[in-house]
């Protein structure tokens, strides 16, 4: 019996030839990462409770300040200071204000075949490069940071076979919203979501990351795409050459297979307050918005910024709407500057923010007030996620957010030149 690529990655990490779903393994971790959402707690546990002295490997433990940066209060400044001091003391890679943690990991660290554990739920993003990333809480993370190992249950795998091509104005973002809407917020609980098929083979790394990143919103342990020349080119262009290219066997066993055809897909919207409450943009009716946001680990990369810029070019946003744009990393920001996208955004009336989690995290930038409505490319639309408990968040693609910012209400981007 063959193995899926996820099973192969976990077999390698646990030093076994074969693993099966349901089996509990102790795995060696290739990389671990923590951000300012919870690292202060890890440090407390590490130093005061475990009384540990060393991290397992200073090259494989990464701290990234991205959730509240620049700090908006003395409290968060203290958290950042604590991380900075720990990183210096243990001589581990440290980033502050350079981008959303998952984007930095993808640009600077991850290679196909790795097992990566991070104290953040969207660690499943790394499947876009064919690596197994999964999120844990700070206690599990502290134990990983100390020992380099973690126990994991080998999950079942769900396969998503994608064919066809995106119509103009439709993106990977719409596909993953559609899938989550279909299978539900726990439709992949404890499972691996493996995305494949002829369409995914043509996807860029950015689009693959968009799919894998939101696997957790369906409850998945991780999302994966088989690594191929596209993934190899991406990491080799960044100077990383050691990797393991695991692909699923012909006779691998999947719990279930789903089929999607991109030819039939329209722009999708997740409506408040659950990511699996998804409708097509044509069924949304009239929804007035107060703010738009383009950014986050899901949708703040160069391709999404290009899609938004195409729609905003030469136009002005609605005078009573704010549009906030945060490129996912310094590298993305520089690319957008070089391509003239930032000029387009600023001239349209958008506010361009430093790379960080921003509005998606809902505590340091662009927090919305009582009764306000946000349309966002972020990862979640939970009640109160973006600010006041009585506010609303709709999730959509960067193109849909841009089109909506122009009209002041949720708008189908296909009506604009794209």
């Amino acid at each position: 019996m063959g193995m899926t690529m996820g099973e192969k990655i976990l077999a390698r990490a646990s030093g076994k030839d074969l693993v099966k779903p349901g089996e509990i393994i102790t795995a060696k971790v290739d990389l671990c990462m923590s951000n300012d959402g919870t690292t202060h707690l890890n440090i407390d546990i590490f130093e005061n409770q475990l009384k540990a002295e060393k991290v397992f490997d200073p090259k494989k433990v990464i701290f990234i300040v991205d959730h509240n940066v620049p700090s908006e209060s003395a409290k968060t400044a203290q958290v950042h200071k604590k991380m900075r001091i720990f990183a210096q003391k243990h001589d581990i890679p440290f980033y502050e204000g350079t981008g959303v943690c998952h984007q930095i990991m993808i640009e600077d660290f991850v290679v196909p075949g790795q097992l990566v554990i991070a104290a953040d739920s969207h660690t499943c993003s790394y499947g876009g490069l064919g690596a197994f990333g999964t999120g844990v809480g700070c206690t599990d993370f502290t134990s990983v940071m100390h020992t380099g190992e973690i126990w994991l249950m080998v999950p079942e795998t769900l396969k998503f076979e994608i064919e066809g091509s995106f119509k103009a104005g439709v993106y990977a973002r719409d596909l993953i919203l559609k899938i989550i809407g279909d299978i539900g917020a726990n439709g992949a609980n404890y499972r691996i979501m493996e995305f494949g098929g002829p369409a995914v083979k043509r996807f860029t790394v950015d689009d693959r990351v968009v799919l894998c990143n939101m696997a957790v919103e369906a409850g998945a342990k991780t999302g994966l795409v088989e690594p191929d020349q596209t993934a190899i080119d991406y990491v080799e262009a960044r100077g990383r050459h050691d990797m393991n290219l695991f692909t699923s066997d012909e006779d691998a066993v999947y719990e279930k297979t789903y089929q999607y055809n991109l030819d039939e897909l329209e722009p999708m919207i997740a409506i408040p307050h659950c990511v699996d409450d998804v409708v097509g943009v044509t069924q949304i009716g009239e929804v007035k918005i107060d703010q738009g946001f383009i950014g986050s680990c899901n949708n703040g990369r160069i391709e999404e910024l290009r899609a938004a810029a195409q729609i905003l070019q030469g136009k002005k946003i609605d005078p009573y709407v704010k549009l906030l744009i945060s490129p996912a990393s310094k590298a993305v920001f520089l690319e957008a500057l070089a391509e003239g996208l930032i000029d387009i955004f600023v001239e349209s009336g958008a506010m361009v923010l430093n790379p960080n989690c921003s509005v998606c995290w809902g505590s340091c930038q662009g927090v919305i007030g009582e009764g306000e409505t946000l349309i966002s490319t972020g990862t979640r639309n939970f009640k109160g996620r973006a600010g006041h408990p009585n506010s609303s968040v709709y999730l959509a693609s960067a193109a849909t957010v841009a089109a909506s910012a122009l009209t002041g209400k949720i708008t189908d981007p296909r009506g604009f030149a794209v």
């Binding site: 959402g37 409290k75 844990v136 609980n189 404890y190 957790v216 809902g362 979640r380 109160g384």
Partner: protein, 164 residues
């Protein structure tokens, strides 16, 4: 771990996410004791003050979905909830709860039978939850996980084991 205990039920729905359990704005508060006052704030702001030690939360499917923030199970443990009985849990929350000494039990039917304010009794040895005359089966929890819950979570458990 007490093998049998009884508690008053607070009933919550499906997909109770981590932003509802503890919203982002309160994560920078210094202590879990400060944070616990805001448990379930976006959904039921009055609830945290009403919860008494030993109370039980009964919920629908996918409890704890969303972020990996460990403050979510931590504040529920700090409110001294004796256990949660939900139809199902999100996987990150599940690990985090046991790691923080919070007992989670799974049952599909109890939710539809019980009302808020009911008293249910949990019998770990026989893996049963009793409500009046009716009993509901929960999956049994391995002894070492129960010992971890009793110790207050993974870190105190490891320290106890290592004799530190």
């Amino acid at each position: 771990m007490k093998e049998a205990f009884k508690g008053r039920v607070w009933k919550l729905g499906d997909d109770i996410d981590t932003d509802i359990i503890i919203p982002t704005q309160f994560l920078a508060l210094k202590t879990v004791e400060d944070m616990k006052k805001y448990a379930f704030n976006p959904l039921r702001p009055e609830l945290a003050a009403q919860i008494q030690p030993g109370d039980i939360i009964v919920a629908g499917k996918n409890f704890g979905c969303g972020s990996s923030r460990e403050q979510a199970p931590e504040i529920l443990a700090a409110l001294k909830i004796s256990c949660i009985i939900a139809k199902s849990y999100a996987r990150i929350f599940y690990r985090n709860a046991f790691n923080n000494g919070l007992l989670l039990l799974e049952n599909n039917e109890l939710y539809d039978y019980c009302s808020e304010g009911d008293h249910v009794s949990v019998q770990l040895e026989s893996s049963q939850v009793l409500l009046g005359e009716k009993s509901f089966e929960v999956a049994s929890i391995p002894t070492d996980l129960l010992q971890m819950v009793e110790a207050g979570g993974l870190v105190p458990f490891m320290r106890k084991r290592n004799g530190k």
